[in-house]
Amino acid sequence: MRRPSWRVEPTPPELGEATGRALAYIPDDGRFALYNDYGEGVSVLTPAPPGADAAGPAALWRTHGPPQPRALAPTAEVDGYGIFTFPYGPVSMGVPEAGRFDVRTYGERVLNLVPVGGFKSRRIRDAVVGRPVVDAALLIERMAGNFSASHVSAFLEAAESAEAKELPTLEGWVRGLAQELQRIYNHLHVIARVAEAASQNVGLAQTHALAEELLRVQGAVFGHRWLFGALLPGGPARRLEVADRRRLSERLGQLAEEFEELWLLFLESRTFVDRIQSTCPVNRSEAIRWGAVGPTLRASGVAWDDRLRIPVAPYNDLFVPVPHEPGGDALARVATRAEEVRASFLILEQILDRWTTAGGGSEPAAPSVVPGRGIGRVEAPSGDLVYDVRVTAGKVDALQLRSPSQANWPVFAAGMQDAVFTDFHFAFESFGFAFAETDG
């Protein structure tokens, strides 16, 4: 079979102006470099293409043109007797989101798979322009409801950096609390979806129940199960008193114990482990070549985590474990997430322990790229999330983002080559994708 061929796209521009902190932490080979071309109203934040594959993945992540359905991974020229394209989606219960997968196949074997996005574009990038930052945040948190804390944190960080605003220390703690709770929820959700695909009904029910518990904790602390509005000024989490924090900490302790028991049961289930072991493998060099981020990258043996590498408040002040696995398969991705659930419980404990109250000092303003423009970068549940925001007189002027799903689509497509279609759900769910944040 031939290797995927790239669609011809304009060559990416040279690494442009400095991107502040975002650039400062880039490893020498440039694999996480960000560049931006703000010319002609088009802007992308893209990992620099590694070496010779210069026109490769980067070109695919551009957001040129209207958001009509578009390929999110390289299309391949696979042809032969009996080979056809099987479109899966955008309406299906298997993937309960509007997105399509074009599968080239002659039956069971997947010769090539192309995720197609753009079905649920709510035109958020355009809709925020001209709105005050705090109103724009209402749309940003709905970019992907299950990742709202990460999206809002990254957006606000970028906007604050653009306006050179100091960050009250308490805000940092609130954002950390929200992000870690939501990370645990999302990791549990991924484990539940994989368990569902593997017909692990007891494990599924238990994981679902734990995830629901997390939503209820979020509802109790932030007043909203999905943290909408929670990170904007004045949300209820800022009134967490000592007694509230102790109660919350106890509740999280119980949930952590329940999770330990549950995860051991999963690991003891041979059917579960066998089914996801060696499914959709992405080895270390492939993960780097395709620009994988988050648990997907760490499951391929690269210990990169924004919380550690690009420390913003509160993570600059916390112990952040970065679990990673060498396997690169669906099992490794699920196991990495399980380890991260443990890590997040540990981080939450630190946050609640060292919580400051209002007036407890402030963090210096993040350096802005150029006046009026800032980069915000956080480790979302599915990986590195970057916002590039321009602000004029308190209103959003332009906004671009690179979501972890966007970065990981080509990795998924690469891993699915030569798989069988029954692998699809195990593979797909192990990445923790959201078409919502890709489409925006």
């Binding site: 079905f119 679902h208 199960r225 329940e258």
Partner: protein, 241 residues
């Protein structure tokens, strides 16, 4: 591993505070509609008018709390008509013209979830109905894998031009009798995206809607209430007790 019975007592008993966080309930003017004119400016989606709160527009952002509203409405706020969503804030009963329940659908409902441009929160709240806390199967509510096997289309998200046609086709694929539930502010009014250029308009302009569930997103209990109302089995009727 035994954790006892987790399942909600709803609808036999009212929803608990744990099941419904504050933003799960519709905002209501504490001092009556007289305070609404002064609260109008606080609403980013213009859900508050001089006399009523349009629950179909409200995205539960909590900005009106400082202007004299509170999240104290009933979580059972789903209505059979769009106009009834304007009656929740002042405690008026749903209009008598509300269409009667679709009893022709038999004893159980088969549900198909279709996403036409959502942020995923509504998708996940709908899917949460299958978790042990809500266990929708105990009420005869089942998810199907194809619109061909479904009685009810649960629509989440604000319709995008790309999804208008797939939505129409899914609706046509449902066998008769069929019903459509608009889950959340997005399909009802556009929600946070109301007024955004380039979207396909409200759900009602594309397919007929039978039940409107306000919220952003609606709590799973609110979605249960909507489905039971559609079926004439909600807490307001004999079937719900």
């Amino acid at each position: 591993m035994s954790r006892g019975i987790l399942t909600s007592r709803y609808p036999r008993e009212p929803a608990s505070d744990e099941e419904v966080p504050s933003t799960g309930r519709p905002p209501i003017p504490v001092a009556g509609p007289a305070s609404l004119p002064s609260a109008q400016g606080s609403c980013p989606v213009r859900a508050i008018s001089e006399t009523v709160v349009d629950q179909g527009k409200c995205i539960r952002c909590a900005r009106c709390l400082a202007a004299g509203l509170s999240f104290s409405g009933t979580v059972e706020a789903a209505t059979r008509s769009r106009a009834d969503l304007l009656r929740i804030s002042d405690g008026r009963a749903p209009s008598p013209a509300s269409p009667p329940p679709l009893v022709t659908l038999g004893r159980s409902l088969h549900l198909f979830l279709i996403d036409v441009g959502s942020c995923n929160a509504c998708n996940l709240e709908v899917l949460a109905l299958a978790n042990p806390y809500y266990d929708a199967q105990r009420l005869g509510l089942f998810f199907t894998n194809s619109p061909r096997h479904a009685d009810v289309l649960l629509v989440v998200g604000v319709p995008t031009p790309e999804m208008a046609e797939p939505l129409r086709r899914a609706y046509d694929a449902l066998p008769h009798p069929k019903a459509v539930v608009a889950v959340g502010a997005c399909p009802i009014s556009g929600g946070a995206f109301a007024g955004t250029a380039g979207l396909a308009g409200s759900l009602e302009e594309i397919v007929p809607v039978d039940v409107f569930v306000p919220g952003c997103p609606p709590a799973p209990i609110a979605i249960l209430d909507a489905l039971l109302k559609l079926h004439g089995r909600d807490r307001g009727t004999r079937g719900g007790r």
